[in-house]
Symmetry: C2
Amino acid sequence: MRETWVVGAATNRYGKMAETGREAATRVALEALDVSGIDPKRIGYTFVSNAFGVAERQAHLGPLINTALGLPDVPSATIESACSSSSAGLHEAFVHVAGGFLDAALVVGVEKLSHLDTLAATSYFAMGADSAFETRNGATFPGLYATLAHAHRQKYGTTSEQLGAVAVKNHANGAKNPHAHFQKEISLETYLRSPVIASPLRLYDCCPFSDGAAAVVVAAREMVGAPSAEPLVIRASARSGSVAEMQDRPDLTGLPATRTAASAAFRQAGVGPEKIDFTEVHDCFTIAEVMALEDLGFYPKGRAAAAGAAGETSLQGKLPVNPSGGLKAKGHPVSATGAGQVVEIFEQFNRRAGARQVPKTEWALAHNVGATGGSCSVHIFSHR
Amino acid sequence: MRETWVVGAATNRYGKMAETGREAATRVALEALDVSGIDPKRIGYTFVSNAFGVAERQAHLGPLINTALGLPDVPSATIESACSSSSAGLHEAFVHVAGGFLDAALVVGVEKLSHLDTLAATSYFAMGADSAFETRNGATFPGLYATLAHAHRQKYGTTSEQLGAVAVKNHANGAKNPHAHFQKEISLETYLRSPVIASPLRLYDCCPFSDGAAAVVVAAREMVGAPSAEPLVIRASARSGSVAEMQDRPDLTGLPATRTAASAAFRQAGVGPEKIDFTEVHDCFTIAEVMALEDLGFYPKGRAAAAGAAGETSLQGKLPVNPSGGLKAKGHPVSATGAGQVVEIFEQFNRRAGARQVPKTEWALAHNVGATGGSCSVHIFSHR
């Protein structure tokens, strides 16, 4: 297996895009190629993620992007795994390059739903859940994650103030990120006064619908001469599934797919959670960040919420979590989210994260969840 | 690179499915696993193709299928490449298994659009084309392929009778296939009397919209003991792209993506077109079969149509083409089509194709096109 690197990464500002998904995807892909410094002709495959491209009446986006990039002969496919789509694309790129099938590959995630009304956008999002047993019975993601939050609260006494601390921290980080959808701090008081969306989750527990695009260039170590930027060495690329429907899971205080993927990833990387300096985790709701930190093994079950509230996960804390602002504040353009997490880690490794720069950047972990954990990707990166 | 086999394959009858895509996909996956005889616990990844799952309000189909199969922890992703989606999924499975990342993988393609009216179904299909420069200007696939047919006719004198011969042959084959959407023969007179859809293409030049599902089990040679059925050795798995928009191509008498993928596939397999005993090619329109046979190198440009009309591509001809009935008669359930071609080759290799059995089955080729050739997959198979 060849050592495989992320050699370039780029994103646009998440939020509301005036341009089409196709245009945004092409733009960030060009930027990522430019950052990488590698000859675009070395790209052997483009893995596009655009789960809800149908909302723009456009499937089969790969050939359009490749043609615009001047790489018409390069094959492509669109990879969808709900909110973990572009981390699934990164996994494909890793396998192709590490396995020696390609020298380099491009991963692009993009989503645009802001031209739809909220009901239509919500109905696209809900397609990631189980239409027969969840959506059709009225379940939406806020409701499903609220169920998880209730279970966690009941078993571990997780408080509103602790969930609020996640939102406050991620907004504080997002305020320092020029690519974030929400670039404003909030106070715990603002959080506690915000309306309940699905008890116990309030408005500020929920990530927004965002448009956005992010791209990552992956290459085999031996084909990169002197890299233009400090690369991320992919030490682990692991994916997993779990019982799709929440009603069939024995426990609702965490996501089994996170535990399975994390265990495989740490085994691949040959390190444990204590080695990780900072992490981007999938905080579609504040409770998701709490569960992720426990399921990934950073904290014992029931301990992450208090640790976060005590400041351990802030930029200067013991384990900075979501320095980008996370899905909560940076935003959640479904298919761009996973690639966007890697962009943040790339910026941090290159010490270009400005006011949100974390102190130590030797090892990082990216955690991306599909829906309520039917899918999960965990990637671990280190310096050369 | 490990020798990689197709060890199981199954399809339902294409046409109109009463069950959901999810149910059909699960059923054919179970059947393919059953045929393979391998322990389902060896499956390490499920590659689902379901380009237009949104038409059933269901994305993220993999975890639902895996959960139903009793494999909830197995990761999955949905692979879309327009009409070449499940051959793109097969390519991923091949890379993962041949590269040693997995012992076995499941490829499932499914599509259900028959519950929509024709206009809505057409608008889903059209998303495989370029929405900004083709669809928005009124181009649909019959019109785009009619343009290719005109160019071919103008340069090589391809006649209606020659295109009709493709339809007559594929309907004759489909009439012998219990899985085919259309199981009836047509005469050349019927073809010539059928209405013009987009000149020069008539009704019987066009494949139907079909529902359908097909599944393939891929495994590394060394993990298969005594196979339950004669496996297909994957000698080549190649994909390519080409300039997405037809107006930017220098020539319209063929598909450059087919030539690129074929050239890579024959190089991988170490054989030439003369070695192939029979082939399943992408005949979404009759002209597509003619172009495929030329672009794949089976015939010089401008010679395939006459050869077909002379009977060379019939079941007992020199090179049987589309013994299944092809997209034309077996049907075209977009995301199931590529996997379905492999099911046919599996049946032929196992001498279970009944009245449509071709005489020689040592080497076969499957050719699957996305849209008007923005994407293409070519797989080459042989016996052990």
